[in-house]
Each structure stands twice: as C-alpha cells, then as structure tokens.
Amino acid sequence: MSEFMGFFDALFSPDFPFVRNAFFAGVLSSVLFGVLGSVVTVKRIAGLAGAISHAVLGGIGISLYLSATGMVPNLSPMVGAIVFALLSALIIGTVSLKSKQREDTVIQAIWAIGMSIGVLFMAKTPGYTDPSSYLFGNILLISTQDLVLLLTLDVVVILLAWYFYPQIEATSFDEEFSQVRGIPTRLVFLVILAITAVAVVLLQTFVGIVMVIAMLTLPAGTAGFGAKNLVAMMVGSTLFALLFSFAGLVSGWVLDLPVGAMVVVIAGAFFLGRSVGHLIKMRRSR
C-alpha cells in the first residue's frame, strides 16, 4: 500500500518530473489510442499500421548512427522515425490501392526490412545503443517536447475526426458506396495512414514500437463490444486507454516493472475478458 501511495507522492512531487511527464504522456496518448485506434480498427488497417510502426526502427537507427558519427550532429531519432514512418505509409498505401492482393507481402517486407536496417545501423553506431528502449518504450525518457507534440497531434486528430466524421464513418463502412457518393476515398485512406504513421512515432515513446499496435487496437476492440456507433467507440476506447495507461503506470511503479509492457498486459487481459464475456452472451441469446 505504501508503494501505491508512493506513486501519488511522486506524481505531485517536484523532485520527480519524469513521473508527471509519464502521467501526462499516458493521458495524451489515450486520446490517440481511443480516437485513432477506433478508426484503425473499423477501417481494418491495423496490419498496415503494424508494419509502419516496426519500420520506424530503421529511421531511428540511421538517425542515431548519423548523429553519433558526427555526420549530422545532434540529429534527433524522431526525425528519422518520422521520415521512415511516412515513407513506409506511402509505399504500403500505394500498393494497397493499386494491387490489393500484394498488400500482405509488402506489409511483411516493410516490417522486416525496416527493423533490420535499424538493427544494422545501431550495430555500427559508436557507443552503446540499446534498441530495447525503442522497442518497448522508456517512459522515463519522455521530454516536455514530446508532450507538446503529442498534445498537438491530439488536437489535430480530434478536429479532423469531428469535422470529417460522416466521411470517415462512411468510407470505413462501405468504401465503394462512399466513392459513388463523391467522397475521395483514396485521399481519406492515405490521410488516415499518414496520420497513423506520425502518431505511431509519437506514441512509441510511451509504449514502444512493438506495442503501439496493441494499444491502437485493444482499447478500441474492448469498447467495440458495447458501442452503438463509431463515436461511442471512440469515447469508450479513450476511457479504456486512460484506465489501462494509469493502471499500467501505477502497477509498473509499485512492482518496479516496465510500464509499457504493463499497460499492454492489462489492456490485453481486459480485451480477452470482454471477448469471452461477449461469446458467452452470444451463446446464451441463441
């Protein structure tokens, strides 16, 4: 119990700014996990987002290498990450539109190539670089600048989701019909993919590259069982993401375990629990 209280002491103590940053990162991330995660889920592009998030490691590796060798001094890993994320989003998006049947192969290729590039460049980077803090996130590394970027993206995503809600809903439900109604469905798809790419880069500071996708799908999936429409799913999954993030932060602190992994385990347990509950309900009602 004392550790539990210890978390709240640390949260409000000026001596532990990183705890407060971690807390705000959780709150700001939850909005993206909820709103963008719902869109990714109903548009069924989680696989595409997964490939983008893993490809990001390539950009991070190159940035670290360029920066450590002095070729491009002080290059932030974030820059390489964004470039790789957008590039892979563009490639996957184009292939998905041009030839749907090759999509799976390209997803696998981008996923593997991106990660391998990252590992290779990190191996040649002078000094010690640990890929695992990027793979699994390191909540202690979150800076105020990261928080500002997250907040900015939150605002952008909420505004876009609110303004284009009917178009997002319609293209997710029935792409061909939406096209007949005059919606530029390809543009909508590519914009959603690009925003997801940027979000993945910002979100990996919180839960890491490997688990971003879990957090973009598990809260939305959990909320999806009871939601009556897409807005309800967005709101519900934001609340679930908040709950999971907070529970992960506290338990990670109390048990001295990695927070990102804790958050995902809690989210996964909740999702599986609700899936089982839903299955039982369906059986009964038959």
Partner: protein
C-alpha cells in the same frame, strides 16, 4: 412527348488486366424505365454497373450517365451493391446506415433533416420499426433492404441494384419487389437479377450479358423479348427472340441517336 435518355453506352469495351470482359456494348435506357439485366455468374454484370458508376473506366467507347461523365453524375444514383463488405463488429445502427446514403464529399447536413429522410426511406422498405436496432442484429434479407433504403435516402432519380434478392428469404424478396413496384414509373430502375429464365412483371425491357459477337473474346449485351406469364407476376425471357440492343419503344429517339 420525348422521354430523355438517362443512360447511354456507345460501343463500350472493358478489360481487367488479364481478362477481356465486355466488347462492343451499346444500349440505352430512358427515364422511368424498369430494366432488368441478366447473365450467368461471372459474365460481367457487376463490372457493367461499375462502368455505369465510373468506378471502372472503359477501355474504349463512351458512357453517358444523365448526359454527363459517369464519375460526375454518379452522386445522383441510388446504388445497392452486391457484396456490401460488411464487418459484423462495426458498431452502427440501422438508421445510421441509411443516413450514410446522404453523405456528401465534405461537411454534413442538419441532424434532424437527415433523421427525417432516413426514417422516410426506412418506411419505403417497411423497416422503420427496426431503425434503432444494431445493424448486425438483422437477418441477411433485412440488411439488404436496409441497403435499398440507404440508396433511396437521397431520393435518386435512378436506382441501380446488383442482385438484391440473391440468397434472400421469400418474404424479404416479396417486400423488396413491393417497394420497387411503388417506385415504378417515377424512378428509373436498373436491376441485376440471377434468374436467367424469368424476371419480375414490373420489367419493361430485359438485357442479357451472354452472347459473344463473332470473333470476340468479351461478351456483349443483347436485348430479348419478354412474354407475359398469366400467373404470379413474372415475365418470361424469350431467349430465342433477340432484339437489337438499341431498340426501344420510343422510336422517335432511336432514330436521332
């Protein structure tokens, strides 16, 4: 009185990358006509509808829809697709599906107006009582009729339905045709059906995608004679009586094409 042509195929050919589907297709449809389009599975019926809606582009020839380029005019069409890619975990109510029939390229219309029009369309297919139910609760036949309501919600002048009655229970099919009967004459209807032998008695003319022209790989569209059957509201397709695809009951226009 001349009745305007709403759809006109001029010598249209279409291929997918490795498959020639249609060759030298020419026919036209007048405003208010009830047209059936039949053909075996895989003959290109859905493809032809995609051409009408500008979702695919002809390899050669031109298509005029409401006197315009299909991709311009298609917003005025009510479209009921064959395979509405449907994900049962998509959270949405019946009424919201119907509202999507009025979605526009950007922005949105007033909530109350959308609701009113959507309910009206659900009345037309006799499903208004299910408006607030989750879409996934409905039977397959009911979902098809909801998609008809979605197409009707924007009050289109022309309705295009792609095998709406395939795998439908008898009751749903009957109700669907009751809905279409009320539209007959006011709304141009182009309906793709799977039965090659007979069509609904509502049908004015029938087109078949079946035959090949001499020396051609792709299929073409021919028109067949219809024979009134004495019973149960159907017309029989006389496959041995072929009429030129461009012939119709408005000779004054057939002349000046």
């Amino acid at each position: 009185m001349s009745v305007p042509i709403v759809l006109h195929f001029h010598d249209v050919s279409f291929s997918y990358p490795h498959l020639t589907v249609l060759e030298e297709v020419g026919f036209h449809v007048h405003e208010g006509e009830f047209i059936a389009l039949v053909g075996p599975n895989g003959s290109g019926k859905t493809t032809l509808l995609k051409l009408i809606l500008g979702l695919e582009q002809p390899k050669s020839g031109t298509i005029e829809l409401l006197g315009q380029n299909p991709s311009k005019a298609r917003v005025q069409i009510g479209y009921v697709p064959q395979h509405a890619s449907y994900d049962p975990s998509f959270p949405i109510s019946v009424l919201e599906v119907v509202k999507m029939g009025m979605v526009e390229a950007r922005g949105r219309q007033p909530k109350e107006k959308l609701r009113q029009l959507a309910l009206e369309a659900l009345h037309q297919v006799e499903l208004a009582s299910l408006a607030d139910r989750p879409y996934s609760d409905l039977s397959g036949g009911q979902r098809r009729r909801v998609l008809v309501a979605r197409a009707l919600a924007s009050k289109p002048n022309m309705l295009i339905l792609d095998e709406p009655a395939a795998n439908m229970d008898k009751e749903s099919e009957q109700r669907l045709y009751e809905t279409l009967a009320k539209l007959k004459g006011k709304t141009t209807v182009l309906i793709v059906t799977h039965d090659m032998k007979r069509v609904s008695a509502l049908t004015d003319r029938v087109f078949c995608i079946d035959a090949h022209k001499e020396g051609k790989v792709g299929r073409t569209v021919v028109q067949h004679m219809l024979e009134e059957e004495p019973d149960d509201g159907v017309k029989r397709i006389l496959h041995d009586v072929e009429i030129p695809a461009d012939q119709c009951r408005y000779p004054q226009e057939a002349g000046n094409e």
